[in-house]
């Protein structure tokens, strides 16, 4: 019994543990540069330089120079109004415009989990 339990649960356990990711929803309200354990560690903060032709990302200026940030269907875009005190909101690709400051969280698997865009 012990072996069958071990085998079956090992398989299930492996499947379960692959899906882990931190809950991100309060990120909407956490200002650019202040996400604990992410900002300045796993994120890039810089100015959006140009948009991708396929509307799936943008080039931003980071410390090492220009970097292309490619979104996927799960990438969340958070629009922030920290400078004017307005309520933050979920955004879309249309909110990503050249010249705006953005923070991009690139997860360990290389996917872009979220983008925070600072509105003027």
């Amino acid at each position: 019994m012990r072996n069958s339990l071990k085998t079956l649960i090992l398989l299930a356990g492996a499947a379960m543990t692959m899906s882990a990711a931190a809950h991100q929803e309060t990120e909407l309200y956490i200002p650019i540069g202040e996400s604990p354990g992410i900002s300045h560690v796993k994120s890039h903060i810089g100015r959006i330089e140009s948009l991708g032709a396929a509307q799936n990302g943008f080039t931003m200026q980071v410390q090492d120079g220009p970097k292309y940030i490619a979104f996927d269907e799960k990438t969340k875009i958070y629009v922030q109004y920290a400078t004017s005190g307005k309520r933050n909101r979920l955004g879309s690709y249309a909110d990503c415009q050249a010249g705006r400051t953005a923070e991009v969280y690139v997860a360990d698997d290389g996917t872009v989990r979220w983008v925070k865009v600072l509105m003027p």
């Binding site: 649960i9 899906s19 931190a22 309060t26 909407l28």
Partner: protein
């Protein structure tokens, strides 16, 4: 005792306690822990008046239950939705707070506050050092996804401030709240990790009660109770012999959401289904530790079961046995969990006794720490008060199950001594008397 001798005593005590842990953090009376404690109970972060302690009450095992809520004044921070017009809608459901201690969470996002929310109980913050690590990182909150940022306990406080502390639902940082600083996060983490057990039990224990001892056997039996596979040593981590070394805290879909006649639904209030971990959720919730369970009900993420006996019986029912976790267990062992009433009671008795033993351990440690301070030091009263809560819990947990009547007199003696120790005159003598009574009570429960 002069000031330096006094400090030296506390330092020695702290070092001794720290040396007993497998993963020592700051000692209980470390300045960082004390700073975190002050923040936890007093800091409102510029918000609506709530503190972390508004829901995680020291008097109620760092959780909160309806009976305790009923004792709170109308202007308590818990009820801010009743007193602040900006938070009157879509922030909390006052009826569900008062009746069932359910708190509103927007863990799947803030874009539709009227419809996208869940009502969850307040998980206690005891034994966190033993219960939140996993192969895939920290598992915080009921769903294992309670924190923003890197998902750590440190980051958890930021998510809590955003969710529970704002002045208005605009939730604008530096207007509706301020975010904790790095130093505050560090202190809050240290304080939370200092609470409760610092390491897991090693079962089986040499229990003296016949019913609890049988309950332990059932708990550990892989073909009967099957509890130990996921609640290894009655903690929050998975059995490493089954799930592999370092599996830590795992999440399962155990079907709690499928329970019929859930109290919050019967109240007729809006109570959307809770999809657990992730967004969209996968139905999974992380495994809570069981040592602290008997005095931290109601049970499960939605406070749907009031008693520890009912929580054990849950694993007999269709909701669990038809759930993904239940089906997994049936596939692995060839049968569903099927305990008769006496067996349910026995497992619950076991959980009651190990909870009481932990209460006694905690009370003893608190009183030892209190004794190390100079007599009359203000900190003594804080520690004595917490020890009183622990002893009260031990008494209720044991008596609630009709267990160990022979221990009741000693528990009462310990409580009486602790009560008298609130008076600084003769405090040392009373603390010694309480410690002796605790040792006697413990001796009735375990060899």
């Amino acid at each position: 005792m002069d000031r330096w001798t006094h400090r030296w005593s506390i330092a020695c005590l702290a070092a001794l306690l720290a040396a007993c842990r497998t993963d020592p953090g700051p000692a209980p009376e470390d300045p960082l822990v004390l700073k975190g404690e002050d923040i936890f109970f007093n800091e409102t972060f510029g918000g609506n008046g709530r503190t972390c302690g508004a829901c995680h009450r020291a008097e109620d095992n760092f959780s909160i239950a309806p009976a305790f809520i009923s004792t709170l004044p109308a202007d308590d921070g818990l009820f801010v939705a009743e007193t602040n017009q900006d938070l009157a809608r879509n922030f909390e459901n006052p009826e569900l707070i008062r009746k069932f201690a359910l708190i509103l969470e927007n863990q799947d996002g803030f874009d539709d506050l009227a419809n996208k929310f869940n009502m969850r109980g307040v998980p206690h913050t005891l034994a966190l050092r033993t219960s939140i690590e996993s192969r895939t990182g920290p598992q915080t909150g009921w769903g294992g996804d309670g924190a923003p940022g890197d998902g750590s306990l440190r980051a958890f406080a930021i998510g809590a401030v955003v969710q529970h502390f704002p002045r208005t639902l605009n939730r604008v940082a530096d207007t509706d709240f301020r975010l904790p600083t790095d130093e505050e996060l560090e202190a809050l983490e240290a304080f939370q990790l200092s609470l409760g057990r610092q390491q897991d039990l090693r079962l089986p224990l040499q229990l003296r009660g016949d019913i609890a001892r049988r309950g332990q056997e059932i708990f550990l039996d892989g073909m009967l109770g099957k509890c130990n596979a996921c609640h290894f040593n009655a903690g929050a981590n998975a059995d490493p012999a089954i799930f592999g070394p370092g599996a830590g805290n795992l999440r399962f879909d155990t079907g709690v959401e499928e329970l019929p006649d859930q109290p919050a639904d019967l109240a007729g209030e809006k109570n959307p289904p809770d999809d657990g971990f992730g967004n969209p959720g996968n139905g999974e919730f992380n495994t809570p530790p069981l040592v602290e369970s008997a005095d931290t009900g109601p049970f499960f993420h939605n406070n749907s079961v009031e008693t520890i006996e009912g929580a054990v019986a849950f694993y007999n029912g269709d909701a669990f046995n038809q759930s993904p976790a239940g089906q997994l267990l049936i596939g692995a062992t060839g049968s569903a969990i099927n305990l008769d009433a006496t067996q349910v009671i026995a497992v619950a008795a076991f959980l009651r006794v190990i909870n009481a033993l932990e209460n006694l351990r905690a009370a003893g440690a608190l009183l030892t720490t209190a004794s190390a301070y100079a007599s009359g030091h203000a900190r003594q009263l804080v520690l004595i008060k917490r020890a009183r809560f622990e002893l009260q819990d031990a008494s209720e947990v044991i008596q609630g199950g009709g267990l160990h009547p022979e221990a009741v007199a000693d528990l009462r003696a310990a409580q009486a001594a602790v009560e008298k120790a609130r008076n600084r005159f003769g405090r040392k003598r009373q603390l010694d008397a309480a410690a002796a009574a605790i040792a006697r009570a413990r001796g009735h429960l375990e060899n």
